[in-house]
Amino acid sequence: MYALVRFIAVIFVSLAFLSACAKDPDSSMTAVDDAPESSEASDTSGSQDESNLIEMELANQSGEEVENLLAHTAVYFGFDEATVTERARQIVKAHAEALVANPTVMLNLAGHADERGTHEYNLALGEQRANAISALFQELGVEASRITTVSFGEELPAVEGSDEESWALNRRVEIAHDLVQ
């Protein structure tokens, strides 16, 4: 089980690597959506693939990869959840490293929810998501005094639409600071 989880995580990283300069949330989500399929396909192909992926994982330690992750200015959440996913953790880590290296830069985190559920609960959920990401930034060395969090609940969707794909893109925290545009 652990191997599979780790494997999926590796897939996330490697797909992000392959998708290179993905700037819009759309392409980052495509990468996430693709991941479970890839892992299923790998079940039969055994350990050889896995060792290749470990090599890719090592390659991901390079500075080049950090640049790619910085291109992602939103992290996404599961339905009704404020739990930080492994994918979100990696993106936050890249931003945190950049922010630690630039100690005067301020960080704003805007939490959002999809349209499902009540407006009031979603306002609170947006805040809880922004706080979860804020806590991670602090854990990674960004001082609380540099971070502001806001919630927009379900009031400012990233995309209009009432399907799983749109909802997935709207359940997000947007990461904003001067090191990214």
């Binding site: 009704d80 349209e115 499902r116 559920g117 009031e120 609960y121 609940g153 009432s162």
Partner: protein, 466 residues
């Protein structure tokens, strides 16, 4: 089991009512039958008119649910010089139909169109099984210029007698209101309860936009059926949680700014508004105490929503909940002794109940479903209407405290903002999605009708409690 219980309850409920029309109440089990009754067009612009063709969506007849009382509502005789764009009988028919307690018979089945008592032939109406027959006519009033005399009578065709006869002298601009009152008289005679036909709703809309554009948000008051809409507020910021004060003279709502939100109390008559003296951060989900003197609301500063009570005159705050997870959406029980609210302290959002005092102990309300939110009480306090997730989406459910049962009453799966009508005869809610709209459900879920809105995408709705 549920089916049997429901039938028994329905029978019991009806047998407590007046003796009118009891003779022909039958239990008929129908599966998948869909019927619709046309609703009047609203003079609100061409784009919306097309939409209104669907104003009555479907009747979703659950297995074992009984039908309403069959009633014939005969077109009213006489003419008016004003262009009304609706007819009295349409308004009355739609009112009665929405409660699920009446099944209006389609006009094309009527044996005749009587407008006065001497032309009602009971045996003809018995043939089409019309328990009740409502007739009426409109005549110019000789005494008052621009006024009309509306004479209406309700008959029980099997008892072969008049149930009531009333007359109104009124100007044409009051016709809708009079139609609601006539419908209320019929409703009262049959159910022994008051209807909510002559009450108001409050709703918010926004111009659909994605990031970047400047959206316009608006707050409207309208008749319960969507007519006579009035703009109460326009702003560039999202408006959340609109609620009426118990006496209907004020409304409260939250306005969302970047990084904080404020709760406003606004006078309906003057438009004058003041924000309540709450701390910095997010303030949302106001709910008036039944005496109108306090507002329960949800407040978060630096990270966690808790329930507070604000005494309006004293401007004093009391913190009700203290938990590291979300607590929001408080709503008062009609006796003022409890609040329900939504919390995710048990991982998924669920409904909790607590007395309205400092550091109150909260107890989970055992509603079925993977999540529940947005609860508010029925007028008697015996039930809750909630947004419930039973695995297929967000739906409107009714939880009964004594029976400890949860019943889903909507067929849509993106429901939000559900409230009982002030007399508990209907439930209103918003359907989210690409085309948002307001829906009224009969409390048994059998009848679902659409409420026309003025413009934009509707977001939230509240039903006046007066």
């Amino acid at each position: 089991m549920r089916k049997t219980l429901f039938c028994l309850l329905t029978l019991l409920g009806l047998s407590l009512n007046s003796n009118v029309a009891l003779s022909a109440i039958t239990i008929e089990i129908e599966e998948g039958v869909e019927r619709g009754v046309p609703i009047a067009n609203v003079p609100i612009g061409d784009e919306d008119k097309e939409d209104l063709q669907f104003s009555v969506i479907t009747i979703e007849i659950e297995e074992g649910v009984e039908r309403g009382v069959p009633i014939a509502i005969v077109p009213f005789g006489g003419e008016v010089k004003e262009d009304l764009q609706f007819s009295l009988e349409e308004v009355i028919r739609n009112d009665l139909y929405r409660t699920g307690k009446f099944d209006p018979i389609p006009i094309d089945q009527y044996p005749s169109h009587p407008t006065s008592s001497d032309s009602v032939v009971f045996s003809d109406w018995q043939l089409i099984e019309a328990d009740l027959v409502l007739i009426g006519r409109v005549e110019p009033d000789e005494a008052k210029p621009d006024h009309y005399r509306i004479i209406t009578r309700l008959y029980d065709s099997f008892e072969q007698k008049q149930v009531f006869g009333v007359q109104f002298i009124i100007s044409a601009d009051k016709f809708r209101q009079i139609a609601h009152r006539i419908a209320n008289s019929v409703f009262e005679k049959v159910t022994d309860q008051e209807s909510s036909f002559d009450t108001k709703i409050l709703y918010t809309t926004s111009n659909s936009n994605s990031n970047g554009g400047s959206a316009e948000h608006a707050l409207y008051i309208a008749d319960y059926d969507g007519y006579n809409p009035q703009t109460i507020l326009r702003t560039e910021r999202p408006i959340l949680s609109p609620v009426w004060s118990p006496d209907g003279t004020k409304i409260a709502y939250a306005e969302l700014f970047v990084g904080y939100s404020l709760i406003y109390i606004q006078e309906v008559a003057t438009g004058e508004r003041t924000s309540i003296a709450a701390p910095n951060g997010y303030n949302s989900a106001p709910s008036w105490s039944p005496d109108g003197e306090r507002l329960a609301f949800s407040h978060s500063n630096e990270g966690n929503f808790e329930i507070y009570i604000y005494s309006i005159d004293e401007q004093r705050l009391t913190q009700v909940t203290d938990h590291h997870q979300i607590d929001t959406e408080p709503s008062w029980r009609p006796d003022g002794k409890r609040l329900v609210f939504t919390s995710n302290r048990g991982i998924t959002p669920q409904i909790y109940e607590a007395p309205p005092r400092r550091k109150a102990r909260a107890k989970r309300v055992d509603i079925d479903g993977r999540s529940n939110s947005g609860a508010s009480y029925s007028p008697t306090g015996e039930q809750l209407v909630v947004i419930t997730d039973q695995g297929i989406g967000k739906q409107v459910g009714i939880y009964d405290f004594s029976a400890e049962t949860t019943r889903v009453i909507s067929s849509t799966t993106l429901d939000d903002s559900a409230k009982f009508s002030p007399h508990g005869d209907m439930v209103i809610h918003v359907v989210e999605g690409s085309k948002r709209y307001i829906k009224i459900l009969s409390p048994d879920g059998r009848v679902a009708t659409r409420v026309p809105v003025v413009e934009g995408q509707v977001k939230q709705v509240d039903w006046a409690s007066f």
